[in-house]
């Protein structure tokens, strides 16, 4: 069952009209980055062409209008994530910067020698390395919640790993390899019981399912516009107000201060305390249009569409001889990582590319997870709002052709 008019949705994405190597583009790398609808491209270019001005710095009308629209997008993000207040929404350059911000600001404040940061075995490097750097600096350690063979967290291990020494728990909402949607609310409740703060990496979930940060109960939720049909170069840090207020600035610069002398500087309240320098203004405008676009489609409908595709693709891909999928968690998102026995993922990806099919090949910035899965790399097909069953069929046909060439 189609949950919305997919052809009308696809008509909004100019890139889908392009061909690749003489074939219509089959874009199956939405977990890396999403294609952009026309409204987003126009919102950004219209702002540059007709409404351009800096934000929070100008006496003139253009700047004031830009500031008002910029703050309007902050409100859209608040509503999109169901945060309580707009002051809980910080614009960053992306998910990676948002995690680094929390690691360096909160991490360096509350982590002491002997403390722990708990991550999971399925994290993206951004949610490992950022913490590792801070842990090394303060003498804390990283501990890891394991996963089982279906790609789900081993929740029975959580209580053993949680102790008052664990100050921060950082985990993916949705795995960028396995597609697993983690029981974040349960983890957050148990982590809070030992006094830990909880950061949720929402890079993969934010555009693909309804997100309610209050229901999740997390202290931080981070995501990237470019994976949400929005422009590159902008992302979000949601932080619970009480926690953000307790945190010192990370980067210093313009617009995050109240007064500066050479002896002492006093800082703005959140979110401005964490937005040093001129932000990616035009990208924020485009991001606002992307959020409107996703809301108009309706995230429950969008999630249902991608779930239908994932189930369909899982079925037909498993009929390809020798193909093994990693991650079989119930309710997993639209991300399917696989290998074909006896064939290098690099070869598969190269020969799919020759047929106009864009997939990701590699370790997906999750080397510890690859080690756990016992592979060096995988092929990954991932879906977006514009993906179709017909594209899944093209992938399967493409894989049969690849097998014909490689074997």
């Amino acid at each position: 069952m189609e949950t919305f008019d997919i052809e009308r949705v696809r008509a909004e994405f100019p890139m889908l009209g392009h061909s690749s190597r003489g074939y219509p583009l089959v874009f199956l790398d939405s977990a890396a980055t999403s294609l952009k609808p026309r409204v987003v491209i126009e919102a950004e270019s219209d702002f540059y062409a007709r409404e351009y001005g800096t934000v929070r710095r100008g006496i003139y009308g253009l700047s004031q209008a830009a500031t008002s629209r910029y703050e309007g997008v902050r409100e859209k993000v608040r509503a999109f994530l169901n945060a309580r207040e707009t002051s809980e929404i910080v614009f960053t350059r992306g998910t990676t910067e948002a995690i680094n911000l929390v690691a360096n600001s909160l991490g360096r404040t509350i982590l002491k020698a002997g403390d722990q940061v708990l991550v999971t075995a399925m994290e993206h490097h951004a949610n490992i390395v950022s913490w590792q750097l801070v842990c090394k600096a303060v003498g804390a350690t990283l501990s890891v919640l394991p996963i089982d063979d279906s790609g789900q967290l081993v929740m029975s291990e959580l209580d053993r790993l949680l102790s008052p020494r664990v100050k921060i728990v950082a985990l993916a909402h949705m795995s960028n390899v396995l597609g697993t949607v983690n029981p974040v609310a349960v983890v957050a409740a148990r982590a809070h019981a030992v006094g830990a703060k909880v950061l949720v990496d929402g890079a993969q979930s934010a555009a693909h399912m309804p997100v309610d940060v209050q229901a999740l109960g997390c202290d931080f939720f981070v995501c990237s516009s470019h994976k949400m049909c929005g422009p590159s170069g902008v992302g979000v840090l949601y932080g619970r107000r009480e926690v953000l207020e307790s945190m010192p600035p990370w980067q210093g610069g313009g617009d995050m201060i109240v007064t500066v002398t050479f002896e002492e500087t006093t800082f703005e309240a959140p979110p401005y305390r964490f937005e040093a320098g001129t932000p990616p203004i035009a990208q924020v405008m485009g991001f606002g249009a992307a959020l409107d676009f996703l809301e108009q489609l309706g995230r429950p409908a969008l999630a249902a569409h991608e779930r239908m595709l994932t189930e369909y693709a899982t079925g037909v891909l498993q009929e390809v001889p020798g193909l093994r999928i990693f991650g079989s968690a119930p309710g997993k998102g639209g991300i399917i990582a696989f290998v074909i026995d006896g064939m290098s993922p690099y070869d598969i990806g190269t020969l799919l590319d020759e047929q106009g099919i864009a997939v990701r090949v590699g370790h997906h910035c999750a080397q510890p997870l690859m080690k756990r899965l016992g592979v060096a790399s995988t092929v990954r097909a991932s879906f977006g709002v514009y993906s179709t069953r017909a594209e899944v069929d093209v992938l399967v046909e493409g894989l049969h052709k690849v097998r014909g060439i490689l074997s």
């Binding site: 190597r21 290098s344 690099y346 070869d347 190269t350 590319d353 020759e354 060096a376 014909g404 060439i405």
Partner: protein, 146 residues
């Protein structure tokens, strides 16, 4: 006398341009990779890994009478095929000829953008490594007392 590096490249380009479909060009590359002599296991070391390749590539070389003999391997069939092209072109030639002759065959093979963008598949890293070996062996040879 063996053909020059330039002649070999021209021959390769002619051979691949005679294959009409991209599928068959890849089949030919993969076949050439399969024919590559087995890579000696004692050289399958991290220090012999060519950096900048998306797949794993190992390369080892030895000098012999002013010429360089290369051995290499990859875990990806297409990359192994590309290795066999590189080795067919450069292996067994003199230090100076290897250093002086640029790789022109890559763009001429009709292998699509993907393989021509040699950074992506490590081909440029491999070609650089080929030249580095020749430069290093030449420098060592020049230092040796007569």
């Amino acid at each position: 006398m063996t053909a020059s590096i330039a002649d070999k490249q021209a021959a390769l380009i002619a051979r691949f341009n005679a294959i009409p479909s991209w599928e068959d060009r890849y089949r030919e590359i993969i076949r050439m990779g399969r024919d590559l002599p087995a890579f000696p296991e004692e050289h399958r070391l991290d220090k012999n890994k060519v950096k900048g390749c998306q797949s794993q590539v190992w390369m080892h070389a030895r000098p012999e009478s002013g010429r360089v003999h290369y051995e290499a391997d990859s875990d990806a069939a297409i990359v192994k095929g590309l290795i066999s092209l590189v080795l067919e072109v450069y292996s067994g030639h003199t230090f100076d000829e290897i250093i002086a002759t640029p790789a022109t065959f890559v763009d001429g093979l009709g292998l699509g953008q993907h393989l021509s963008q040699s950074r992506a598949n490590g081909l440029s890293a491999m070609l650089k490594q080929v030249k580095l070996y020749a430069l290093a062996f030449k420098a060592m040879a020049n230092k040796q007392p007569l």
